[in-house]
């Protein structure tokens, strides 16, 4: 890993905040530290879920990550459109 664990956490949150869509695949976070192994990035992303800074979003067949406030707003918007 080129980044420390905390730096990687910050980079992941930054990516999840600025990405055009609120839901991101774990693979989308690999670019946050190209030198880190995919499993290391996955473990850091899952730590962020435990801390409540990210949350899981599931399509049913695929599980993705999202910033809680962003995804909740999106879901509320979708429900009011239904």
């Amino acid at each position: 890993m080129a980044l420390s664990k905390d730096e990687l956490k910050a980079a992941i949150i930054d990516k999840a905040t600025k990405a055009p869509k609120p839901q991101l695949y774990v693979k989308d976070f690999y670019a946050c530290d190209p030198e880190a192994k995919p499993r290391e990035v996955k473990n850091v992303a899952n730590d962020l879920v435990k801390e409540g800074k990210l949350m899981f979003w599931s399509s049913g067949s695929t599980t993705m990550y999202a910033i809680p406030t962003r995804i909740k707003n999106e879901e509320t918007k979708n429900q009011s459109n239904d």
Binding site: Y25, V26, K27, Y30, K37, P38, R39, K42, N43, N46, V49, K50, M55, F56, W57, S58, S59, G60, S61, T62, T63, M64, Y65, A66, I71, K72, E75, D82
Partner: protein, 424 residues
């Protein structure tokens, strides 16, 4: 009293088989939301489109799998199924339960859900159908604290590993499938409960090539029991089958005609590696492909060899994107050794994951990645030398693609030197 008219669904109760419609109507007497399942399904039959929406942020804290969010797209018309989430429970290895455990699970589901179940889903889990978002955390608390029962996998997680009954009840099993399944389930808890991969990943373990869990057709990582040495033959029992003293196929054969060794066994051997000589059955074991047909027909006469292990196959999947795909044999034989905590199996799994997590595209199953990069590349990644068993038929086109390292001297050459030998 039915809440919705369901003339189309009622037709399904008229056939000779038990109908889920009847089950739902019976369940609706105590769980009124089941009327709305029937009503919504009737509407789907009329509209020829599903009225379920799935996915979302439902789940239990810290888990990225085990709950599949499901909602009605017509909640005002069918309020009982406005939320109708599916809960997957990790089934015990080989699906051995006590009846008390099943009662406890069903009682819990009557308390928190619709009471409807699907035992089992195609992944292997116990599937509990239909609950509301606010019931999920209390249900999960009771499941884990009172029943010592965990959720299974869903989404891009490792899916709940599943296996056949193995050595627990089957004499053909070449390794203890339940033990390996349990070990992998415990070893990879994080991968089962949290997303780890580009897409779903499934382990399935069968004790012999009969492959009762269809791992060759349904799993990314298929462990199929096999043997290295010769099929064990009891010649006296072979004669007993020929004379009609033993019923073929364990008595399950439906044909009324007498057992015919030539027609029923030897003619159906895919590699024709069997023959009768001087009244004795001979098998050319080197040419046996472990199809299991002869063992299935004469279980008292033929048994797997004694040097047992498993073949590893990779990349099967159901038809979602590119169509159904059977698994490809990668390792013809490995030992399945519980004394080393299945170290050899785990090493193979993790080399696949390390590669696939980097190379696989989002929502691409391992089999699709293998197909995209080609088997030679995958074999190199796995550090496996190609062998005849890796291919189905000899190649049909004359082009062989060599890499620079595979050609003595590489592709760099002196053209003038070349032309000296090949005059224009």
């Amino acid at each position: 009293m039915p809440k919705h008219d369901t003339p189309l669904l009622d037709e399904l109760e008229k056939g000779p088989w038990p109908s889920f419609v009847t089950d739902l109507k019976r369940q609706a007497e105590t769980k009124p939301e089941c009327w709305d399942i029937l009503g919504q399904l009737e509407l789907s039959f009329k509209d020829k489109i599903t009225h379920w929406k799935h996915g979302g942020i439902v789940g239990v804290f810290g888990y990225g799998g085990g709950i599949v969010g499901r909602y009605s797209d017509s909640p005002k018309q069918f309020p009982g199924v406005a939320h109708f989430h599916t809960v997957r429970l990790n089934q015990p290895s080989s699906k051995f339960y006590s009846s008390a455990k099943l009662r406890d699970i069903c009682n819990l589901w009557e308390k928190y859900g619709s009471g409807m179940t699907n035992m089992h889903g195609s992944t292997g889990d116990l599937v509990l159908l239909g609950t509301r978002t606010e019931n999920l955390e209390p249900l999960f608390y009771d499941l884990t604290h009172d029943l010592n029962q965990d959720l299974g996998g869903s989404g891009s997680n490792l899916r709940t590993p599943s296996c056949c009954i193995g050595t627990a009840r089957c004499e053909w099993a070449c390794y203890d499938t339940a033990s390996l399944c349990h070990h992998l389930t415990m070893h990879y808890q994080d991968e089962i409960h949290r997303p780890a991969f580009p897409y779903k990943f499934k382990f399935k373990m069968s004790g012999c090539p009969n492959d009762c869990v269809a791992s060759i057709a349904r799993s990314d990582f298929s462990v199929i029991g096999t043997w290295k040495d010769d099929i064990r033959i009891d010649q006296a029992a072979v004669q007993a089958y020929i004379k009609g003293e033993y019923k073929p196929n364990g008595g399950a054969r439906t044909k009324s005609k007498a057992f015919d060794m030539d027609a029923d066994v030897m003619a159906l051997c895919p590699t024709k590696c069997m023959r009768m000589k001087d009244g004795k059955l001979q098998i050319d074991n080197k040419n046996c492909t472990r199809c299991m047909h002869c063992l299935n027909m004469m279980p008292r006469a033929l048994r797997p060899g004694t040097v047992k292990g498993a073949s590893i196959l990779c990349g099967a999947k159901a038809p979602i994107l590119d169509g159904a795909q059977l698994a490809t044999l990668i390792f013809p034989f490995i030992e399945i050794n519980p004394d080393s905590d299945y170290e050899e199996v785990i090493e193979i799994i993790e080399s696949i994951w390390d590669w696939w997590m980097e190379t696989g595209k989002n929502r691409e199953r391992l089999g699709e990645t293998m197909q995209r990069v080609g088997l030679p590349t995958f074999l190199k990644v796995m550090n496996v030398d190609p062998i005849p068993q890796h291919i189905k038929i000899p190649r049909e086109n004359p082009y062989v693609f060599w890499t620079d390292e595979e050609v003595p001297g590489g592709f760099e050459r002196d053209v003038r030197e070349f032309r000296k030998k090949h005059a224009q």
